[in-house]
């Protein structure tokens, strides 16, 4: 051992290194960029503990409450930040750290970039497509719940099912929802659910709370697992900021485990009403079927009887009766017409009856047995017979003359 070699206590070495660092003026005020990780906010003290890192290293940081108060918001896990502070050694842990008094966001961190890249890749592969989303069964009687056995999510779901009177079977497939093993654990639970093939829908749930550890639901293998699940998958991860990859792949995204349970448990009373409604429809429509047939049958019967032989004979008989009546009518009319004509003629004859005429004062004069109608051919002294209504007169022609204007030729004769 060389002379002057000194044995130091831990405290001495820490103090020595710390003093070396503090001698370096430029370390008193540094600006360092990195990605936030391991963020812990101590509610009680108000101090913020975190680390910043890049591909090559990691530095622990502490920000005391009086500076934390100035921050508009706490940084997110994975966020790229610019840290300003004093680089020094924390003697208690022998750890190099930055006492931070300012923290600025620097856009997206690597973790966020990776996540975005994965989202893009899965989107391109079609895992998020709307047309691949399946509707939830409206009345599932067996539902699988993939969640932590101890978490609030399970209690919320069961409570909701009870509240809505859901009378189905709920199978819990326990898994870890946080930590490095969570994605694989969730995936195993999902596979078990698929193997058993008892459930009509699967809920992957986690209660709300620490928002920094959603990484389990951003897992690529889980994304493929949920996408390939034969029954619809509901994501109920209970956070609001960002959609996880599981949210995007799932057939339905529920804001909370409670909402997921509501989506899967039909209201019992509504169901009951629906069944009663269908029952009424069945009996109403059956009645309609029977009535329709009865009406059709009645119509057929009417048609049939109209075409029966009896009906035809009756129809023909009626037609015959009608024709006979027509005939009779025609005959009678003819008879009536003839009788009318005879009467008319008789009346005409009566008018012409010489006896009737003679009763009115007219008479007929006969010469040589023939009725006289002209003076021509008469001879004086010729015997005439005049027939009256009640007898006859015998006379002789004394003279005669012809009426004037009757015939010009006879004018002289008249004067004769």
């Amino acid at each position: 051992m060389a002379a002057g070699f000194q044995i130091l206590t831990v405290t001495q070495l820490c103090r020595y290194v710390k003093s070396l660092l503090e001698e370096q003026r430029q370390l008193g005020d540094v600006m360092v960029r990195g990605e936030v990780t391991g963020l812990t906010y101590r509610q009680s003290s108000g101090h913020l503990y975190f680390s910043i890192r890049d591909e090559g290293g990691l530095i622990r940081c502490v920000m005391f409450s009086r500076y934390v108060q100035n921050l508009p918001e706490l940084p997110e896990e994975g966020a790229a930040v610019l840290v300003r502070g004093t680089a020094t050694l924390y003697e208690r842990d022998g750890a190099f750290q930055i006492i931070t008094y300012d923290l600025q966001p620097l856009g997206q961190g690597q973790g966020k970039r990776d996540l975005d890249a994965l989202k893009r890749k899965l989107a391109e592969e079609g895992l998020f497509r709307e047309e691949h989303k399946r509707p939830l069964p409206p009345f599932p009687d067996t539902v699988g719940i993939i969640t932590s056995r101890e978490g609030a999510a399970l209690q919320d779901i069961l409570h909701t099912f009870r509240r809505r009177g859901y009378g189905g079977r709920v199978i819990v497939y326990p898994c870890a929802v946080q930590g490095a093993g969570a994605p694989a654990s969730i995936l195993r639970a999902l596979e078990r659910l698929e193997e058993e093939a008892l459930c009509q829908a699967a809920v992957i749930a986690r209660g709300g709370g620490s928002s920094e550890d959603l990484s389990a639901f951003n897992d690529e293998a889980l994304a493929y697992g949920a996408y390939g699940c034969p029954v619809p998958v509901v994501s109920a991860v209970g956070h609001e900021v960002d959609l996880s990859i599981l949210d995007l792949v799932a057939d339905v995204r529920a804001a909370t485990p409670t909402a997921a349970a509501e989506l899967l448990s039909p209201d019992r009373e509504a169901l009951r009403q629906r069944v009663l409604g269908l029952q009424r429809s069945v009996s109403y429509r059956t009645k309609e079927q029977i009535q329709r047939r009865r009406a059709r049958l009645a119509q057929e019967l009417r048609l049939l009887s109209a075409r029966s032989p009896g009906e035809r004979v009756a129809g023909n008989r009626q037609k015959l009766r009608f024709l006979v009546r027509l005939l009779k009518d025609a005959q009678q009319k003819k008879i009536r017409d003839r009788r009318g004509r005879v009467l008319y003629l008789l009346r005409q004859l009566e008018l012409l009856n010489p006896a009737a005429v003679m009763r009115k004062g007219y008479s007929v004069t006969l010469a040589e047995g023939k009725a006289l109608s002209t003076v021509e051919g008469l001879r004086p002294g010729q015997e005439l017979r005049t027939l009256l209504a009640d007898g006859e007169v015998i006379s002789a022609v004394c003279s005669y003359h012809k009426n004037e204007g009757e015939e010009k030729d006879h004018g002289a004769e008249r004067d004769h």
Binding site: G167, V172, E288
Partner: protein
Amino acid sequence: MEQKETIEQSLRRLEEIVERLGEDTVSLDDSLALFSEGMKLSQRCMKQLDEAELVVEEHSVS
């Protein structure tokens, strides 16, 4: 164990029956058979609904 129809299956079948009963082409025999099936099915549904109890199980994941 009896293979029970799910409520969903029963409802779907009931809807089918109602649909069929609305058609002009269904025969009288068929409509009577559909009626009796529909009545039985809806009664069974109601019974199922009234008696259904929430069952919670935990299945181990290897």
